[in-house]
């Protein structure tokens, strides 16, 4: 199978475990479908996959978008359909569900660990930032822990980064830039 985003070969999907249902097998396959922009975490790790079910002959995968304009959304949907086809589980229909809105709180613990290992600081719990009052002076943003050297002597360079979901930071101790997965 070919990755829809990069044209690179993907590992073979997991084989069906004896005695497991079509839906259980599909969930195992989905756990191997990677986000095209952060290709270490799966769509399951990110909490994009909300449900897997069956409707007649079709598998129905319910997904929720991370950001309104995330350009990866369509690639992700195509990757999901391709992976399930590859595993012989299709036909698959994708159902997009907007409510409840995706939050970075849905990223799994395993997903957070993978992000950190990849050099992206995972998001803090949203409650801490959600109802923050309006602030009208340049804000001192709470420092993050550098994913490379663990220093807390870090600063935010930009509120926006290379993808909709990330901000750009740097570490003053080791001098390296790093990314932060925004809490939203």
């Amino acid at each position: 199978m070919i990755d829809a985003a990069f044209g690179t070969p993907l590992p073979a999907p997991p084989l069906r475990v004896a005695g497991s249902s079509r839906i259980e097998h599909a969930r195992a396959v989905l756990a191997t479908v990677l986000d095209p922009e952060v290709p270490v975490v799966s769509v399951v790790d990110l909490g994009i996959v909300r449900d897997v079910g069956e409707d007649g002959d079709s598998l129905v995968v319910v997904v929720t978008p991370t950001y309104s304009g995330c350009p990866a959304t369509e690639v992700i949907e195509a990757s999901i359909v391709a992976a399930l086809d590859e595993a012989g589980l299709g036909p698959t229909r994708i159902r997009m569900q907007r409510a409840p809105a995706w939050t970075s709180d849905w990223i799994s613990d395993a997903g957070r660990a993978k992000l950190r290992d990849y050099g992206i600081v995972p998001p803090a719990a949203v409650d801490a930032v959600k109802e923050a009052p309006l602030r009208f002076v340049p804000r001192a943003v709470a420092p993050l822990v550098c994913p490379r050297c663990a220093s807390t002597d870090t600063e935010r360079l930009a509120a926006f980064g290379a993808t909709a979901c990330k901000a750009l930071w740097r570490c003053r101790s080791c001098g390296e830039p790093f990314e932060h997965f925004k809490s939203i």
Binding site: P65, Y67, S68, G69, C70, P71, Q97, R98, A99, P100, A101, W102, L134, R135, F136, V137, P138, R139, L157, A158, A159, F160, G161, A162, A164, L168, K182, I184
Partner: protein, 260 residues
């Protein structure tokens, strides 16, 4: 390619006002790609444009579905974006004004983000489930945009003599166009009656308080009310929108149905 005719039903018109305001501001922000003063802002402005395009797509899609549900011809998001004439766009005139300098862009972003954050918050309770779902996502994005713009407005106003003068000039330029957002009319009243969404006039006091609170540390206060009212929400636009649409619609008009 021939233009489409869109339903004049007030609920459709209300959705077009939201979708078009997001879409045209996105188009203006995208103009900064490759031109912002620093690369971080280049990325920030285009990221915000992307969020706004996403919001516009969702709202225009819903508007086009609603046309069908009301017994007319349904339209998809692309038809609504690319095949409507200038007079059928319903964005506030404010967002179609030229991007100006960085101060104009940031002050406009602040005014619009404060407004949209208040609007999306109220739309989370819309009687239209799809619109409420769109709002639940968009409100988080508007909040992030507002924080970014507020930081810059304070920084420019409280910065050098040059940046403060630019911001002051931006306020004088844009101020006459803010009032239109909150002008009440039948479309607004109908949306309120059907619980589709709030009257935008009802958001004015909160908007004004929040804007004032950012402008104060930037060394500015709101100018006096003017009699001038722009009229983009009802389709009578400034001379600038036609040029925006010419660029935005050119491909679909010249090569109908063309896809990537």
């Amino acid at each position: 390619m021939q233009s489409i005719t869109v339903s004049s039903h007030p609920s459709v018109q209300y959705l077009l006002r939201i979708g078009d305001t997001c879409l045209i501001l996105a188009q203006r922000l995208a103009e900064w790609c490759g031109h912002a003063p620093i690369v971080e802002e280049d990325i920030a402005l285009t990221n915000m444009a992307l969020d706004l395009v996403g919001q516009a797509r969702a709202v225009l899609t819903r508007a086009g579905q609603l046309e069908g549900e009301l017994g007319g011809a349904p339209h998809d998001e692309d038809q609504l974006a690319f095949l409507r004439d200038e007079r059928d766009f319903r964005n506030c005139t404010l967002v179609e004004l030229p991007r100006g300098d960085f101060a104009v862009t940031m002050l406009r972003n602040l005014a619009v983000a404060i407004f949209l954050e208040l609007l999306w918050q109220r739309l989370e309770g819309s009687s239209d489930g799809e619109l409420a779902a769109i709002a639940g996502k968009a409100v988080k994005e508007a909040r992030y945009h507002r924080e970014h713009a507020a930081d810059w407005v304070v920084r420019l106003g409280d910065g050098t003599e040059e940046s403060a003068a630019r911001l002051k000039a931006a306020l004088e330029l844009l101020w006459p166009y803010f009032a239109e957002i909150f002008e009440a009319d039948a479309v607004d009243a109908e949306a309120d009656a059907s619980r589709l969404g709030p009257r935008w006039a009802d958001l004015h006091d909160d908007w004004r308080a929040r804007l004032t609170a950012v402008l104060a540390p930037a060394g500015l206060s709101l100018p006096a009310e003017r009699a001038f009212r722009s009229t983009g929400k009802s389709g009578r636009h400034s001379e600038h929108l036609g040029y925006v649409l010419a660029e935005m619609q050119h491909l679909q008009r010249s090569f109908p149905g063309g896809v990537w």
